[in-house]
Every structure is written in C-alpha cells, then in structure tokens.
C-alpha cells in the first residue's frame, strides 16, 4: 500500500451557516479498495459525498484525487477525471427512456452516438436493465431506479465510484444482485466508497470502514474492528443505551 492513495481527504470541513455537517474529516482510499462510510442519520455522509463529487466546495481542508488537489472543482470536471457517483435520492431523467438516461452518461467517454449507444447497451446488460431499455425512467420500480443510478455512474467508466445507499429499500434478492454487481465492478479495477445503513452489506463487501457521527470521523478500521469499537456502538445506540 505504498502507492499514492486514489482519494485523500485532508481535514475536510463543510458548514451550512451555523451547522457543521462535516468537521475536519480526514481519510484515504487506496486503489482497488471498497471503503464503507457509515454513521447514523444526519451524520454527514451524503454531504461528504457532495463535497468529494464537487457539488459543494469544502469550507476548509483539501481533497486530493490521484495526488492532485480537486477541491472546489465542479462535478462535470470531476466526472471527466474519473469520479462517478449515485444519488441517495435517485435522479433519473424522468421524461427520458432508460436507454437515453444511460446514453447521456455514455457521451462522456464516447462522443459519437453510435459508439455511445453500443456502450449504453453494454451497461444495460451488466445492470440487468436491458429488457426495460425503452421504458420511461419514471416508470421503473424503486429497484430499477437504483440500478439505473448505478448504470449511469458506470457508463462514465469511472476509476472511483461513490455509492450512496444503493441497497437500502431493496428486497433480499435484489440486495444480493446489487452486491454481486458491486463486487464485479470492483474486480474490474474500480475503487469504491459506499454509504449504506444495511450492516449485512457493509460487513460483506467492505475492506475498510470509516465512521461519521455529528460530522466527525469517530473511527476507521476493518469491519471486525469497527463492529467491536465502543465509540461506534455508542454512536449507533445513543448516549442512554451505552
């Protein structure tokens, strides 16, 4: 693990007026890893994703991607650099077909329509959406919309993928399918940072975990270390139960 980390957060802080959503968060993600970002509701996980993917500039601190400072760069530039993301509140283009949704993302690497279409079909196959290609994205089930969210991010051919609660809300079969997909993506060399509340998933796929609570990183380590960490248990169960 001597290589430069793929992603490095250096004391990243994000405030909204008086509210500190991320407080001096630092951690690294090495190439090829799946890192889980966990924490109670409102801990600041989605906000940190928004900072990393360029939707918010950090109030303080730095974000390095492949060793280069990317703090404050807009999302579309980061997409071109290789950062793909999904949204917790899924963002399909509702008036467009599933194929068109993925096609739009495919243009980043394949500016010609014919190649982009070929690529989009390939993504639809991988994500199991090919049979619904012509359906309007608004007509997909919740599971379908989450798959589409992953498909659009994958169509960017990212080297780093941010997944925000792509499993929550799925039934057990769909959960297993999504886990399978995530592992397949990792095996193709994509580094992944994932936010998820479902511990079974986190424990099963993550190499390492970082835990946020009230915007601060309170722990970092392997899933086994984290599940026995007193500070984490306290954060999840609350002051009174601890």
């Amino acid at each position: 693990m001597m290589a430069t980390p793929l992603l490095e957060l250096k004391s990243v802080t994000k405030t909204f007026g008086g509210l500190t959503a991320n407080n001096q968060v630092s951690f690294k993600v090495q190439p090829g890893e799946i890192v889980g970002l966990i924490g109670p509701n409102g801990a600041g996980k989605t906000t940190l994703f928004n900072v990393i993917s360029g939707y918010y500039a950090p109030s303080h601190g730095q974000i390095l991607f492949k060793g280069k400072d990317i703090s404050g760069k807009p999302p579309y530039e980061l997409a071109a650099l290789g950062i793909g993301r999904t949204f917790q509140v899924v963002k399909p283009f509702p008036g467009l077909s599933v194929l068109e949704n993925v096609l739009i993302a495919s243009f980043l690497r394949y500016p010609k329509r014919a190649q982009a279409e070929e690529h989009a079909w390939h993504i639809l196959e991988i994500t199991g959406l090919a049979d619904r290609a012509e359906v309007s994205a608004a007509g997909l089930t919740l599971a379908g919309r989450k798959r589409l969210e992953i498909g659009k991010a994958l169509a960017l051919e990212p080297s780093f993928l941010l997944l925000d609660e792509v499993v929550a809300g799925l039934n057990p079969t769909e959960v297993d399918l999504t886990i399978e997909l995530i592992l397949k993506v990792r095996d193709q060399g994509v580094t992944i940072l994932i936010v998820e509340h479902i511990m079974r998933v986190i424990m099963q796929i993550c190499d390492r975990l970082a835990v946020l609570n009230y915007g601060e990183k309170i722990a970092e380590g392997t899933p086994a270390e984290i599940s026995s960490n007193p500070a984490v248990i306290k954060a999840y169960l609350g002051e009174t139960a601890a």
Binding site: P40, N41, G42, S53, G54, Y55, P74, P75, Y76, A79, A80, G84, R85, F87, K91, F93, P94, G95, L96, E100, L103, I104, A105, F107, L108, P111, R113, A116, G139, L140, T141, L142, A143, K152, A153, A155, L156, A168, G169, L170, N171, P172, E174, V175, H197, I198, M199, R200, V201, Y236, L237, G238, A241
Partner: protein, 347 residues
C-alpha cells in the same frame, strides 16, 4: 417514426417549392412567406423552451436585432443585402452570448423575467438612438420581388429545421439539453456543463432568428420598434410552441401554421383586431396549458404510443409499493440500527 418526419418534411418543402410556379397572386405568396417565417420563429423558440426548459421572452429582441442590423448596414453603410444579413447573424450571435452568460445562470421564472426586461431595454434603445431612426423607424431600399422572398424564407427556414432536427433529435447535443431540462444538478455528475450547453442552445436559437429578422426587414422594407421589437413576436412564438407541443420541433410547426392561419383569417374579418387577438392568444395559452400540457403534437404522439401503456404503469406502481413495503422488513440488524438512530428525529 424519426425518418418519417424527415420524409414528410422534405415532401412539404418540395410541395411548397413548386407553389410559385402555379400561384402568381402576390397576396397568397405574402401569406405563405409570413407563415414560413413564423414556423422559423417557433422552432427556434422551441430550442430553448422545449429542449432546455427556459422561456426566452427576448426571442423577439433577436428578431429585431437582426432586422435593425440588416437595415443599418444597408441604409447607413450601403452594404449589399447578403453581407448585411451575415452581419445580422453575427451581431445576433454576439448579443445572445453576452445576454446568455449572466441570464442563463438564473432559474426558470427569473430567466423569463430577465430576458423580458432585456428586450424592453433594447426596444427603448432603438427608440432613442439616431442610428436606428428612433420611433420613426427605418426605410430600406425597396426590392419588390415576392417570389425571391418566398424562396429565401423557405430556404432559410427549412435549412434551420433540418439543422435543428439533426442537432436536437439525432446528435448527442439534443439529449444533453434534455438531461439539463430534466435535472440540471443530476446532469452535472454525468459530465455535462449546464451553463455551457445552455449558452450553446441560446446562440443556436438566436442566429436563425436574427437572420429571419434581417429577411423580414428587407422584405417589408420598413421597420420600427413597434413592428420588430415589441413583445408580440416572443408572445406569439410562445403560444405557437406551447399550443403545438414543446420540445418536439414538429409541434411548433403545427402550432405556427394553426395560429398564423387563425390570425390571418381573423384579421380579414374583424376590425378591432389587435385587442381581441391578444385576448384570444392569452386564452389559447391558458387553455392549452390546462388541457393540453403536451401540446397538440405531444398529445397525438402519446395517444399513438399508449397502446397497453397505462396498464403497465399501474403494474409498476403497485410493484413499487410492494418493494417499499418489503424494504421495511429488510435486514433485521439494519432495522434495529435504524430504530435506534431514528429516535432523535433526523430525516
């Protein structure tokens, strides 16, 4: 269905193209020329309104800027018409760029207000400047050849239509614009720069509009702020596009033909035309927003595509609800953790 559109359009252009061979009545040619011009103004309005979701109330200003640039170059600098028309295209493009950079950062309604205010400012400017002739307007060297203007208008509008059809319905550009219309924030994570795309669309919509203004000026041989820079140009284009069906290019063509025919007939049979016409325009837009939210063409197209559609939708909705229910009984540990964390009321 896409290639059908091209086939029908080519046919329509060909049919129109032979009309002057059989019709020599200047009045008929004049009406047709103006109808074609309105088709051009409607489809260019649709580039922004339908594909990016921004209502540009400065559309008429581009028309006026094209008209005035052509008039000024021809009258004050003695340029020939074609060169003056090129200058009109260039000036309109620059104006769109300059106006677009600040206004296209604004959202929906604010953009509409800003462009409306800008177009009023330009109208005022034309009223007070001497180079524009102030309220008296400008008279251009007369060139009275209805057939020439018919073919010029037909050529420019059909070239514009085919170019827009290619860019918006075939090339990646149109899909990218639609992505921005549907979700500007979400589109950014897919590598799209919304400001840049919107400015490109704005300029693309402005250039043909400026050219149409230039042709109009030379054709009518007289322009003043009231005829080329009033809100009416934008308002009519808006009604044509909304009534015909936004974001389809075909809808605006249909809307332009219907509204323009209506206007022409109305003009012929009613004396206090202006006021009534405006009231009717307002009513048409209100009614089509309420009863035909997709416009005429959008509604027809949806009907055609619907066979078995709604049933499917119902099905997916109920499956959706099922998935949501299932999700509540997902993993026991997660449910437990959620229960623990939800007591502090966040989310």
């Amino acid at each position: 269905m896409r290639s059908k559109v091209i086939t029908w359009s080519v046919l329509a252009v060909l049919v129109l193209g032979v009309v002057p061979l059989f019709v020599s009545d200047t009045f008929v040619l004049r009406i047709l020329t103006e109808a074609i011009m309105w088709i051009g103004l409607a489809i260019t309005f649709d580039v922004l309104a339908g594909y990016t979701g921004y209502l540009n109330f400065g559309h008429g200003a581009f028309f006026g800027i094209g008209a005035y640039t052509t008039a000024i170059m021809m009258v004050r600098a003695n340029w020939p018409f074609t060169t003056a028309l090129l200058a009109a295209a260039l000036v309109t493009a620059i104006c769109a760029l300059v106006a677009g950079i600040p206004t296209l950062r604004l959202r929906g309604a604010y953009f509409a207000i800003a462009t409306w205010a800008l177009s009023l400012a330009i109208q005022q400017l034309a009223l007070i400047l001497t180079i524009t002739g102030g309220p008296d307007g400008m008279r251009l060297p007369p060139f009275l050849d209805p057939v020439y203007f018919f073919y010029l208008m037909l050529g420019v509008v059909s070239a514009t239509f085919f170019l827009l059809w290619y860019l918006l319905e075939r090339a990646p550009f149109g899909l990218k614009l639609k992505a921005i219309r549907e979700d500007e924030l979400g589109a950014q994570s897919l590598g799209l720069n919304p400001t840049r795309l919107k400015i490109q669309a704005f300029v693309l919509s402005a250039i043909p509009t400026g050219i149409l203004g230039g042709i109009y000026a030379y054709w009518i041989t007289f322009i003043d702020p009231a005829s080329t820079l009033s809100d009416l140009v934008s308002d009519q284009a808006l009604v044509m596009v909304v009534f015909g069906g936004m974001g389809t290019l075909i809808g605006p063509v249909i809307g332009a033909l219907l509204i323009f025919s209506f206007k022409t007939i109305f003009w012929a049979y009613l004396s206090n035309f202006q006021l009534l016409y405006l009231i009717i325009l307002g009513a048409v837009i209100a009614l089509s927003v309420v009863f035909l939210p997709n416009g005429l063409w959008g509604t027809i197209r949806n009907r055609k595509n619907r066979r078995g559609g709604p049933k499917k939708n119902q099905e997916s909705l109920s499956r959706d609800a099922e998935a949501d229910k299932k999700s509540e009984t997902k993993s026991a540990l997660a449910a437990e953790l959620k229960a623990c964390t939800q007591k502090d009321g966040v989310k």
